[in-house]
């Protein structure tokens, strides 16, 4: 992927986690996933918190940045003529046809619900860790997952 500094813990963190953060941002619908990942690592390095496992903190930054970017995009969307295509990871990426409708349904979920779904079913995080990542309660995560799955199920059944 890239050349990094051997023996540098931050470089090792980058090596171990950077691609995950790019992909997390992408799955959350970021318009520029790598920019999100770059910004997340930059903010992490600025703070350099002493954490045994920095991955949850990085994921939290990625979620928050992506959510903020969505707000920004919504603002832009409101000012953009509807016939102008918007850049998005979903449009830019080549998605296998058999997964397209799942990803399309996922993209229609509210941001927080989408976060819970991605953290649960892509990263296989337990709900407690999802709650920590999203800065919310386990109960809210349960609710998000349950309702998110119900929405996805309904969307897929409607297409069947």
């Amino acid at each position: 992927m890239t050349s990094t500094e051997v023996g540098n813990p931050l470089a090792e963190l980058f090596r171990d986690r950077y691609l995950e953060m790019v992909r997390l941002a992408g799955l959350l619908g970021a318009d520029d996933p790598e920019d999100i990942a770059q910004e997340a690592f930059t903010r992490f390095l600025q703070k350099a918190p002493a954490l045994d496992d920095p991955a949850p903190y990085l994921r939290t930054i990625v979620c928050n940045l992506t959510r903020n970017r969505h707000r920004h995009l919504r603002t832009i969307r409101a000012r953009t003529p509807p016939d102008v295509p918007e850049p998005s990871s979903e449009h830019a990426a080549i998605i296998r046809e058999d997964h397209a409708e799942v990803i399309a349904a996922l993209a229609k979920l509210p941001a927080r619900r989408r976060e819970a779904i991605v953290l649960r079913f892509w990263l296989d995080l337990p709900e407690r860790e999802i709650a920590q990542t999203m800065g919310t309660s386990v109960g809210t995560v349960k609710s998000q997952l349950s309702r998110g799955l119900a929405a996805l199920t309904a969307a897929m059944e409607a297409r069947a």
């Binding site: 950077y18 790019v22 992408g26 770059q38 903010r43 390095l45 918190p49 079913f121 407690r128 309702r147």
Partner: protein, 464 residues
């Protein structure tokens, strides 16, 4: 429940979802010069921060940072600064006391399993033997205290421990207490568990009717590691299983196996189980009967906890909120004679435990207002009978809040609603850590100033 398992494996939707996510993730790649770009970006950020710091010092001095990680409004903050609500953590000291109480009060043991499974890996060969104990319904201190207060046990309380990490699970069946405004209208008998280590536990309750749709359910909690280590915490799973089960084994993808323990206690319609293993994606849980036949191969399929559907009509807007990056409305419905509050996405519903037309003439619950504010303002919501004109909520230290009831507009219901902002600091301290369950009371007065009712306020789904 954190994770629910069943022997049918993931649902088709979950399988498609996982496959689609993993396939779609492959579409996102990192640039070849990402590390160099990051170094340049970090250097620029450091320079900018230094300039800002210098400017701040010249003006009036800096101020302390804060806020959520990655929040551009605040420039980031400590990951520890977040809302922790009841289910997540049990204070270490309390948990230690609990274990002692539960073990000392052992009255009934139906331990099952516990011997190392065939092919048991070397990593677990030195693990202590799993143990099981049970207490009567009067034990007051153990992991899951919050749930015990909300869903008092109707059975014995079962404690299971296993593994060198002292993974523990506490299990019981019970009915919602009178002050618990839960997800469901009349959920009936519920299975409750608190699963974790001596330092932290994760707990929840699920209606037995939901258990019947799956032969295995589970909560999970990551075990804690010593401060200063970087090893991954163990995964601790525990939950309910059909009473045919005699043993549980965690099987890692590389073939290592970790034996857990299955147990039951007086009054249990199903068995409970716990197992811990290294945290490895793809770990499966194998349940066997007394003859050694496999009866369940658990996967991470979520059980849909039944919750009332939001009605299409009849909504009463109780209040609008905005702040902390979120906004919305709290709505009230009358469902099957119960008052249900929709606290706004993504907050769950809160349904009155009693039919609103019955006694007492006043009922209410408290919860953290769904504003996203880091100050955790507390909100009280409730209903009262038609003759109640005002409500006084009594707060700690002699403070009180007085509000007037308002007519909800449900024809013929004879009910009024009320709402009160109770300020901050009731559930969480300034760092966001839970303070415990506050016991607040409210008094209802009629238009002439006579006391109509006085009640203790309840709690919605996840207090603290």
């Amino acid at each position: 429940m954190t994770d629910f398992f069943n022997n049918a494996g993931p649902s088709p939707v979950e399988g498609r979802l996982r496959a689609a996510l993993h396939a779609h993730a492959e579409d996102f790649t990192a640039g070849r010069d990402a590390w160099q770009q990051l170094q340049a970006r970090s250097q620029a950020a450091r320079s900018q921060a230094a300039r800002s710091q210098a400017a701040g010092n010249r003006a009036s001095g800096g101020r302390a940072g804060g806020g959520r990680a990655g929040d551009s409004r605040t420039g980031g903050g400590s990951p520890a600064r977040r809302l922790v609500r009841g289910r997540l953590a049990v204070p270490a000291a309390a948990a230690a006391a609990v274990v002692a109480v539960v073990v000392a009060a052992t009255t009934l043991v139906h331990g099952l399993g516990g011997s190392p499974a065939a092919g048991h890996g070397s990593a677990s060969s030195a693990r202590p033997e799993p143990s099981v104990s049970a207490t009567g319904p009067n034990a007051k201190t153990f992991p899951g205290q919050s749930e015990l207060a909300l869903v008092p046990p109707a059975t014995s309380i079962l404690s299971l421990t296993t593994g060198k990490d002292h993974a523990s699970g506490t299990f019981w069946f019970g009915y919602n207490g009178p002050g618990f405004w839960g997800y469901q209208v009349s959920p009936g008998l519920q299975f409750c568990d608190a699963v974790g280590s001596a330092d932290a536990a994760e707990s929840s309750c699920i209606p037995v009717t939901a258990l019947r749709s799956a032969s295995v359910t589970a909560d999970s909690s990551l075990g804690l590691v010593s401060v200063g280590t970087t090893s991954s915490p163990p995964a601790i799973y525990g939950g309910s299983v059909t009473d045919r089960a005699a043993s549980v084994t965690a099987v890692l993808p590389d073939g290592r196996t970790y034996a857990g323990v299955v147990g039951t206690a007086r009054g249990f319609p199903d068995k409970a189980w716990i197992v811990d293993s290294p945290q490895v994606t793809g770990t499966r849980l194998i349940f066997r009967d007394a003859s050694g036949h496999q009866i369940a191969d658990a996967s991470t399929a979520l059980v849909q906890v039944p919750a009332p559907k939001q009605p299409h009509s009849g909504a009463i807007t109780v209040l609008h909120y905005a702040g902390g990056g979120s906004s919305g409305s709290v709505l009230a419905y009358l469902i099957g004679g119960h008052v249900a509050f929709w606290l706004g996405e993504p907050w769950p519903t809160a349904v009155s435990p009693d039919a609103a037309a019955g006694q007492p003439a006043l009922a209410g619950m408290t919860d953290i207002a769904p504003t996203g504010s880091s100050q955790y303002p507390v909100l009280a919501l409730g209903y009262a009978h038609a003759n109640v004109a005002r409500i006084v909520v009594h707060l700690p230290h002699g403070k009180q809040v007085t509000v007037r009831t308002f007519l909800p507009g449900w024809p013929g219901s004879g009910l009024r609603l009320w709402k009160a902002a109770l300020g901050t600091g009731l559930f969480n301290d300034k760092a966001g850590m839970p303070l415990g369950l506050p016991t607040l009371t409210a008094t209802a007065y009629d238009a002439a100033g006579h006391v109509v009712a006085q009640v203790r306020l309840g709690f919605s789904n996840f207090p603290i």
